[in-house]
Amino acid sequence: MATVEVVTKVWIAPGCIVCDACETTCPEVFEVQHDNETCVIRPAALDAEFTKPLTKTIKEAAEECPVDVIKFDTIKVEMSDEEAAKIAGGATATPAAAAADAGAESPKAEAADKAAKASPAKPAAPPKPKVVDPAIQALLAATTVRGGHPMINRAVSDLPEPVRQLSKMSPEELPPDGKFQRVLEKAKPKQEEPSRRDVLLGAGWTALALGFGVGPLLGFNRFMAPNVLEQEDPKVRCGSLAKYAAMPPGEINEDFKPVKPSGFWIIREEDRISALSIICTHLGCIPSWLPNDRKFKCPCHGSGFKPDGTNFEGPAPRPLERFRIYLDGDQVIVDRSRKFLAMGPNDTAVWNDPEASIAV
């Protein structure tokens, strides 16, 4: 009977740098999850009976861990020499499948496995002295500093020239120790591809910034121009009064219908001449003057207006609007900037305004 120290529980303390060293040494227990940026204990290894035979490799892994985050509990048990030798011999108890799995992942583990199989009863050999480049030694020292990756990066930048050379070398040229390669890779500045979420977020914020930033700027641009309304002269000179005074009452002069932006008819009533807008008060079409019927008739919805502009049929709610009209010497001038709006066929008092017509 021999008293052997066996591992009953393994856990990972915070601060893992995802270096793969533990999984390389003991793939049955440790699993490095690069996505989660940590290594975890495989579920099966949470059982004391599972970890017992792996005591040696677990201890090795804990020792090799560059940041010393692998922790374990041990108890001392008495067992037969044969079993004790087994435990001391390492991974011989590993199920074949697990071994194959480990082999696929790491050649070194496979080699260790083979070596263990070759000499199953060999007592625990003292840990191999690690002969490494002093530069890597320095690098490892840097990784053990508290603070994680930024510290490693800083350490690399502060390191002497050989180490920096090393960090720039391709993995194939590195010393043949996988885990240190990984450490070096970790030490390299990370160049991540932006994820879809990052791109979309960036685009969204950019659009928002453009909307809130550039939009108002463009809006302010309008104040760079003088604040004037571009429009035609609202006043139209329509010739001498005699021409219109000569028209018989009820007659319409259509000469100014095409004037832009809003044309007008000059109409002769009993004792005055006025200017009627050509825009239908219903929906803005332009009525036609039907001389035989003596009415304005809108071709869009059939509104009809009497010769003085009063609405009398169809949907138009109000009479045609009138423009200001006045005399400048002998010249008749229509000023379209002022309108006279009658509210209904019986509500035309506004037309009696002296500016709404010229008395004849």
């Binding site: 869009c300 919805h301 949907p315």
Partner: protein, 393 residues
């Protein structure tokens, strides 16, 4: 070329154009006065809904189709009718008439079969029919064929009939009549009777909102996934009225019966822009404050629109009070009355809120024909005419 054809045929026909055909044409023109046209089409729709089991029989439907096509083709020998038909703008109207007829027949045919089967306790047309098809190749091939045929049809159409583009707008030379695109002619017709904000914004908006709201108002699961008329007579009748009469018939009216100056013409009548048409319209306020006192000749009620405010009411509200009472009664009192009589069952089934939405949609749909008929028969212009605020109903 078509014109030459027509002239040839017309000259061949000329000698025989006896009084009978002319009398027939003038009868049709007379019946196409809108008050008869819309009333008759509505009656036709009611008869069609009542006798749907008879006219949907393939033989009867084929006979109707043949008779209508004969009438349509024969009408083309009339110069005025043919002028309307051959306008490239109006070609889709002919298609619309036939497509509407065909789709209506198809739906009612299946409804008639289903209703018969239901009565006999047999399974429906749709039951047991597995309407799932494979996307590839069935659906994709069907879509491809439809795509190719439609494209070919549109290309041929675009080549044969020139697009009716006109020169830039010119205020001195306005097309008379100025017609909207054919699919908007129904809405343009509404503009004759309503203010732009009602006919152009509110009513089209209500059509869209109403169609969206239908499934939320009508929770009755009957008729889901199968054709039937017997189980849903009310909703189908209302929909057919709204679609066929208030949409398609108004488009036909706008196309065939609206001529220069937006006057009404018969389909076989020459579009004479100088034809006199007296349309002296009066508001309800005019009727109440002027016409009524004149007729009654009371000593204490003098005719004349009120122009003084009464208590706290401004003058325009006093003037429009009768119209406001009418409109308010139609929108707010009539539904209460109907909920207790005709729509009692509907009200019980759909509840208060749904009933309010239902009445909102139904009342706006039916105010259109009501106002149209009042315009045609009594030259009624507006119920409420507050021109001060552009508020005219």
């Amino acid at each position: 070329m078509i014109d030459t054809y027509w002239q040839l045929l017309a000259s061949a026909e000329g000698g025989h154009s006896d009084g009978l055909i002319d009398r027939l044409k003038s009868t049709i023109d007379y019946l196409c006065a809108p008050e008869y046209f819309v009333t008759l089409t509505t009656l036709l729709l009611i008869v069609a809904l009542l006798t749907y089991k008879i006219w949907t029989k393939p033989k009867v439907a084929g006979l109707i189709f043949a008779a209508f096509t004969f009438f349509y083709v024969a009408s083309m020998f009339d110069e005025d009718f043919f002028k309307i038909i051959k306008k490239p703008d109006n070609v889709p109207i002919t298609m619309m008439i036939y497509f509407t007829g065909f789709c209506t027949w198809l739906g009612f045919r299946q409804a008639a079969i289903n209703d018969d089967r239901m009565k006999r306790g047999e399974p429906l047309l749709e039951s047991g029919a597995d309407d799932k098809v494979l996307v590839w190749p069935d659906l994709v091939y069907t879509e491809l064929i439809a795509l190719v045929l439609c494209t070919a049809f549109l290309v041929v159409w675009a080549i044969v009939l020139k697009a009716p583009l006109e020169p830039p707008a010119n205020p001195t030379n306005i097309p008379n009549p100025s017609k909207a695109p054919w699919y908007f002619l129904g809405l343009q017709e509404l503009l004759v009777y309503f203010d732009p904000w009602i006919a152009g914004v509110l009513l089209p908006g209500l059509i869209i909102v109403g169609l969206i709201a239908l499934p939320y108002i009508d929770k009755n699961p009957r008729g889901n996934g199968y054709y039937t008329l017997r189980e849903r007579p009310f909703v189908i009748s209302v929909f057919m009225f709204g679609f066929v009469i208030m949409w398609c018939v108004l488009i036909v009216l706008g196309t065939f019966l609206r001529g220069p100056n937006w006057n009404l013409f018969g389909p076989f009548e020459t579009w004479d822009p100088h034809r006199p048409a007296a349309l002296l319209n009066i508001n309800v306020s005019d009727v109440f404050w002027v016409v009524l006192p004149e007729r009654l000749a009371l000593s204490w009620w003098k005719p004349g629109l009120p122009d003084q405010p009464f208590l706290f009411l401004p003058a325009y509200l006093v003037r429009e009070a009768p119209g406001l009472v009418l409109v308010g009664g139609y929108f707010f009192v009539l539904p209460v009355f109907l909920a207790q009589t005709v729509f009692r069952r509907i009200y019980r089934e759909i509840g208060f809120v749904r009933y309010c939405v239902f009445w909102l949609l139904l009342s706006w749909m039916f105010i259109v024909p009501i106002k149209m008929v009042l315009r045609w028969l009594f030259n009624m212009k507006y119920f409420v005419a507050i021109t001060e605020f552009f508020f005219n109903i």
